[in-house]
């Protein structure tokens, strides 16, 4: 794939076109592909979550739209959301209100740059890959606070504040939990991390780190049992209570896109990325990622919601010390082995 891009650039250079033009073209194509992938994948995930939750709850879920097990339900929902009236509350800060979903979605989108779907199927193999993901994922909370504050609604503000507190508390164990992997590999590049797992997946030596990452990642996605920023039974819907139609859909899209991202990063860091027998690499990657997504859905429909202080307790007093322990032990083992 990289050869093809090289040849594309060379062809343009031969015609005497400045290199900005082919670069822009490549960028646009890649972004379109990523957005298309996100949309399709999110639609699938929403339908899938409805089916999983339904079967956990002795129901069927969507069965009508599209025929076979309601496969077209998400498409129908998407169209419905698109043609709904766009409502901005009278008391809202209109500019920030309109920007908030875009910020959230942009953050979710940017993280796809470093997801290695296969040996050559990566938008850009940044040498600071993991760091890039961590910094981008923190941006989401900015959008959430914008949404909560600009809605001019007390429930939204409470939800946004909860979200900020939660993001700060869970970012740290998340970062510390992946340091073990980075130390072992000695690189932040996603490709190199995956290639280092040819022999053994990091989930085995770094099992503790994997568990901490998974918990912190669920909290990052604001999903049950850590969905206190939304908490429909307490804050109605938290930060997006005033949003409807397409703006709400963008929040929804970003939430599911985030879910995919954290699962993909977990696959890359701990589950050996695209490695696996028989099947093509990209399929292996998707299988592992969707398995993690399934675990997240499974947890959501089984557990009750934590309270705010319990969430903080878990983050600061349980996950963070464990993450540091994991880091220390990894370092010790590395030093002992030389």
């Amino acid at each position: 794939m990289e050869n093809a891009v090289e040849r594309f650039y060379n062809a343009f250079a031969a015609w005497g076109v400045p290199p900005v033009v082919p670069q822009l073209i490549v960028m646009l194509v890649v972004v379109s592909v990523v957005i298309l992938f996100i949309s399709v994948s999110v639609m699938f995930m929403i339908w899938w979550e409805r089916k999983i939750s339904a079967h956990i709850q002795v129901r069927y879920g969507p069965m009508r739209v599209g025929g076979w097990h309601g496969w077209a339900q998400s498409i129908a929902d998407g169209i419905k959301l698109l043609i709904k009236e766009d409502i901005i509350p009278a008391g809202a800060d209109k500019v920030v209100f309109a920007l908030a979903p875009m910020v959230v979605f942009a953050a979710a989108l940017a993280a796809y740059v470093i997801i290695p779907f296969g040996p050559h199927l990566i938008v850009r193999d940044l040498n600071i890959g993991v760091l890039f993901y961590i910094s981008i994922s923190s941006l989401t909370v900015v959008g959430i606070i914008m949404a909560g504050w600009s809605s001019n609604n007390k429930y939204s503000v409470l939800g946004a504040l909860r979200s900020a507190a939660q993001a700060v508390s869970y970012e740290i164990p998340l970062v510390v939990s992946v340091i073990g992997v980075i130390m072992t590999v000695g690189s932040l590049s996603m490709i190199q991390i995956v290639e280092a797992q040819q022999r053994i997946w990091f989930v085995i030596p770094q099992f503790l780190g994997f568990l901490i990452y998974l918990m912190a990642a669920i909290a990052e996605c604001n999903r049950l049992p850590f969905d206190i920023p939304e908490a429909e039974s307490e804050l109605v819907a938290g930060f997006h209570v005033e949003y409807s139609g397409m703006r709400f859909a963008i929040f929804f899209l970003a939430e599911y896109a985030n879910m995919f991202t954290v699962s993909a990063i977990a696959t890359t860091l701990f589950l050996g990325g695209w490695h696996g027998p028989l099947l093509p690499p990209w399929l292996w990657f998707l299988v592992k990622t969707y398995f993690l997504i399934f675990v997240m859905m499974w947890l959501r429909w089984t557990l009750a919601r934590l309270r705010v202080d319990q969430l903080m307790y878990l983050g600061w007093k349980v996950l963070l010390p464990l993450a540091f322990l994991n880091m220390g032990v990894t370092g010790l083992v590395l030093v002992l082995r030389g």
């Binding site: 039974s233 429909w301 009750a304 705010v308």
Partner: protein, 377 residues
């Protein structure tokens, strides 16, 4: 004695530290149209004022303008999750006022239906309590079982929610021929379901952490506020009108009365959870002992209770359901007052609520198990 000036409005002074939040009347966790005015210090509730009456329809005034029999369908709409029990309480009050005897078989039928209704009501409570805490799955499990109880009720009365099935002096019609077998099959099917709820709710560590030690109601406050039902028993007082002031034929059945220790949300949860199993026992005993015979006693053509008044109470799934009826000897009650259990139980919320987080407030309100149709009347 000068009459005090009624306070109509209060000034809501918001400060930098505290803010007021209206929880309800449209809020998913107020179980209807209750409005709670919360004064929040950050996320901690420092004051809670319930505002009720959004569902007020002057039920008692309507009752005064109907004949005694015509009131029965209105009682369904009080606690609409336990309609059978409201019917039961009302017809019992009128029968006591008139001194009517109810045939054996009708008494057994009443108890069977009433206890099934208690199970159905507790199931709804359990499911919605799960929703309050963010556990969605238990809701569907509970509704699956409740659906089967409603099927049984439908086969008996033709209705699924507002049955209006009890009559003054007996029951209007006998069980359909398939009912006994269906009911037994349901009980056999239901008993193994209770451990399933335990797996999803009771044994879940997150659930336990969310409810234990919160919303404590001590015995003194409970009696002072005349709390009744599972809430009173959760506070450790062994008080059940079925046992302590027996009505109908409840003194013939063996069943345990679960009590809590700490009076927290967990205790109220466990009391209701165990009560479901106890109700199953009562229904089983009643089915075994169900005698043949008449189902309607000797009732005068026109229901005209003698002049007088009566306060009659029964143990509804939510507590002491009382009817105070004043008769002036005519066909219509002169005064008809409902002592709604959740109306009284809710009044203790401003005492046990403050000091908790918003999330716990939702759990406490859920543990009171209010039904607004009854609170607002």
């Amino acid at each position: 004695m000068n009459p005090p000036e009624p306070v109509v409005t209060e000034h809501l002074q918001e400060t930098m530290e505290e803010m007021y939040v209206n929880m309800g009347p449209q809020h998913p966790s107020t179980h209807g149209v209750l409005r709670l005015l919360l004064k929040l210090d950050g996320e901690v509730v420092s004051e809670v004022v319930p505002y009720i009456g959004y569902l007020h329809r002057c039920h008692e005034k309507i009752g005064e303008n109907r004949t005694y029999i015509q009131v029965i369908p209105y009682t369904d709409r009080l606690d609409y999750l336990a309609s059978m029990y409201n019917n039961f309480g009302y017809v019992l009050a009128v029968e006591r006022l008139m001194g009517l005897q109810v045939p054996e078989r009708a008494e057994y039928m009443r108890v069977i239906l009433a206890e099934l209704q208690r199970i159905a009501s507790h199931l709804i409570w359990m499911g919605t309590f799960g929703l309050d805490l963010g556990n969605f799955t238990i809701f569907m499990y509970c509704f699956r079982e409740r659906e089967k109880i409603l099927d049984l009720f439908e086969s008996v009365s033709g209705q699924r929610l507002n049955y209006s099935f009890y009559r003054i002096g007996g029951m209007p019609m006998d069980f359909p021929p398939t009912f006994l077998a269906d009911c037994k099959a349901f009980l056999e099917w239901f008993k193994p379901r209770l451990p399933e709820y335990d797996a999803v709710m009771t044994d879940n560590i997150i659930f336990q952490k969310r409810v234990q030690g919160l919303g404590k109601l001590d015995q003194k406050t409970a009696i002072d506020y005349a709390i009744s039902g599972p809430m009173l028993r959760g506070s450790g007082i062994k008080w059940d009108l079925r046992r302590n002031d027996p009505y109908s034929i409840y003194d013939r059945f063996e069943f345990d009365i679960p009590v809590g220790r700490a009076g927290d949300i967990w205790d109220r949860y466990m009391v209701r959870r165990i009560e479901m199993a106890e109700s199953v026992k009562i229904v089983e005993q009643a089915l075994r002992a169900l005698p043949p015979g008449e189902i309607m006693g000797k009732v005068p053509k026109k229901i005209k209770p003698p002049v007088g008044d009566i306060y009659s109470r029964v143990e509804s799934p939510r507590g002491e359901l009382g009817f105070y009826i004043v008769s002036d000897g005519s066909e219509k009650p002169y005064r008809y007052k409902v002592r709604a259990p959740t109306f009284v139980n809710l009044s203790v919320l401003p005492v046990i609520g403050p000091g908790h987080l918003v999330a716990d407030m939702v759990a406490i309100l859920g543990s009171i198990d209010i039904v607004l149709g009854e609170v607002d009347r």
